[in-house]
Symmetry: C2
Subunit: 435 residues, 2 copies
């Protein structure tokens, strides 16, 4: 037996606003940041659990405070019973009635739960000496459904239906695991498409993305239609008529505006339109999907929880589902999200980028391929070539695909030196605030 | 000219869990709390702005940290330009792209913005020597629509439609103001219905509620159907066949379960079923509304923002809309919510209780009556007789109605002695945590 002896948090911020990397129509100057947590145990193996919530600067301290507020649930507890019943422990955190009031199940407090849950999965995977994707993909269907909170889902997905999905995928698991280890998981890249980049830089990076073997590129749109037409034309000229190019409005539009704007770009054949409007607007996304068909609608990086994904799928509002590793309550809730997508037959193409999101979310897509949807068809993980050097196990992209990680853990551990160097001291805050 | 010189926050918690006041199917042991903020200025008038976010205990410190994170937007700023353009300042806070990432527009960070906005309205009302309801009700339709952020609303409510609603209500304003001052605003009470109370206590309090002139009572349901049938029968025996009795499940049910449970209580003629399931589940509420008609569905105290209210109304999911003074981004977003309700012809019956919620939200209903919907028909404000003594201007209930406040301000100022006495020292935390 071992105990959790500390929940160590830190406020880590990278000054990315200085270079306009990551600029889009809603987020002109992000400072990619991590509200970082280490679940420390007194076990002889020396294994701690690492995870984080990704934010874009100001407010990262609030996110850290929310993680700190969970100390009472974990510090002093025995590790093994928690790791043995991750579903039960997950539901304990989500159901804390007093903390639940702060959401419920959304925003800062919900993401904090996700960080603690993800850190516990890191311990479990490292103890098992397996990368997270493989640990999950080797659990039985019964063990997997025990991880899920089916509350509020049963009118779309019951426990039995989830079991059926997982059981149907069971026979092919080991063949798909081999295939994954041999060929990786397809990636697409957003690197060429940031709004702050010049047309020349866009063209150069699009050319490089194709040469590097990426499956698709993505352009940020939504600030100015004439600019978008020019930039999309530039990208099409570089990439040719058939290469998939998605567009991403980062929630910039009204519903009617989205339909008009996307149709004005239809001649360039967008692979999907991502985040056309408020991530909360299920009915709005459904109207947009009807209004821009056959162009597909994608969203999810800001979908606050499984209840929103459920509705987006029920309403036919999305044709591509974009989970995020740290927006919801961790691995457990994302398993629910993957099961919902499988139930509705919608491909999952995760959101990544930021800092560490690629390292984290690849495990979920790989698990999905091996044990849930059983398919990589029409699926790919976003990739941005940025800040990977700060991670103990950085992503390994070969021929435009994510190589399946072999190192134990959830992939979220940041190098100690990076954590020390970018621990927030308040300096950028002064520059960024309105004082 | 004066400046904002400080954003003073405090963590205030009342030990209500000791008495089971406020117990319901999802919240068995709340400690009613306030993440309290004072916007301090250097003006010679000595007027500061008071407001708070209501929470139910653990995590109140996180909410305080979120308010603190807004200091950069307010401290050092000139007061008068902000008060003169509350719409612009509101949109500035909501649109801070880095803080927005933590929601967007939901949860801890969004409620923090609401607290700061509400505190600024307190300053504006006190400087005008008017209660908030009257300050708002005397603004022109043009001034009022300038307060609203129509982003994500325009497919349901445009600025012009909002102007039309407000202009249509303009001629009767002064007559309704007189009427309001003479007769108050109807109240209903939840006091008899908490789950933790015995049947005898329920019966006694229901009898008292009728004697006190309340328009309706409400019972908490959802933990056990047999208990609910017995308790509802008890209440009906006390109140007779015609007195309105609403029921409230506090998000306890699945969609199908809600329909079955409510229909099992239909013989007692519930006035409405409140929060039958997840507050995020627009489509689920719509299905429930169809499944329990003609019993009406009510929700909103946990509706995170105007985008959720918009959809609940678009989908015909609610027949009663329950705004909350502190769940969304303050007075400005609640004006949007009131306008949406008026557009869709749905009555607003605000959520209150907790600590200070009655004091705060009455201003919004009274403003609605005078200047937006122009009606009290089918409308009433929740009332719980609890913790009012801690407020500088406590609610004044006469003959089951809220008396229109005459004192300047937003009603949210808590007595200094109460703030000092109940400032959190960490003691209940130890008792409530799982260590």
């Amino acid at each position: 037996m071992s105990r959790i002896v500390a929940l160590e948090t830190s406020d880590i911020r990278f000054p990315t606003s200085l270079s306009l990397d990551g600029s889009d129509a809603m987020n002109p100057d992000p400072d990619y940041s991590a509200a970082y947590v280490i679940v420390c145990t007194d076990a002889a193996d020396g294994i701690d659990g690492h995870a984080f919530v990704f934010t874009i600067g100001r407010g990262n301290d609030v996110q850290v405070a929310a993680i700190d507020a969970l100390a009472g649930h974990v510090v002093g507890r025995e590790v093994e019973p928690i790791l043995h019943d991750m579903g039960g422990f997950f539901r304990e955190l989500v159901a804390d009635s007093q903390l639940r009031w702060l959401g419920p199940e959304k925003g800062v407090m919900h993401m904090a739960i996700g960080a603690v849950i993800n850190a516990l999965w890191d311990i479990r995977a490292k103890r098992a000496k397996l990368p997270l994707w493989q640990l999950l993909a080797r659990m039985t269907p019964e063990q997997l459904v025990d991880l899920v909170d089916f509350r509020y889902l049963t009118n779309a997905l019951t426990r039995d239906e989830a079991l059926g999905i997982l059981r149907a995928a069971e026979p092919g698991r080991s063949a798909r695991e081999q295939e994954l280890r041999a060929t990786g998981y397809p990636a697409y890249t957003t690197s060429p498409g940031w709004l702050g980049y010049s047309d020349d830089k866009l063209a150069r990076l699009a050319r490089e993305a194709m040469a590097d073997g990426f499956t698709q590129i993505k352009l940020k749109v939504g600030a100015d239609l004439d600019d978008d037409i020019r930039r999309f034309r530039t990208a099409r000229e570089v990439c040719g008529p058939d290469f998939p190019i998605a567009i991403d409005a980062n929630q910039r539009w009204e519903v009617g505006e989205a339909i008009a704007w996307v149709n004005a770009l239809a001649e360039f054949h967008p692979a999907w339109i991502e985040e056309p409007t408020s991530p909360d607007d299920v009915l709005g996304h459904a109207a947009i999907a009807r209004g821009v068909a056959p162009i597909r609608v994608a969203t999810g990086e800001h979908a606050q929880n499984r209840v929103i994904f459920k509705q987006l799928l029920q309403a036919g509002a999305i044709q591509v589902m974009q989970i995020d590793a740290v927006r919801v309550a961790g691995v457990n809730e994302n398993i629910a999200n993957l099961l919902l997508a499988a139930k509705f037959g919608v491909p999952v193409c995760p959101h990544a980028g930021g800092v560490g999101l690629c390292e984290a979310v690849q495990h979920l897509s790989m698990f999905d391929f091996v044990a849930v949807s059983g398919s990589r068809e029409g699926r790919m993980i976003e990739y941005v070539d940025h800040l990977h050097e700060h991670f103990v196990v950085p992503t390994d992209i070969r021929d435009g695909s994510y190589t399946a990680p072999t190192e134990p853990g959830n992939g979220m551990e940041m190098k100690q030196a990076s954590r020390a160097e970018f621990t927030w001291t308040g300096e950028h805050r002064k520059a960024g605030a309105h004082v």
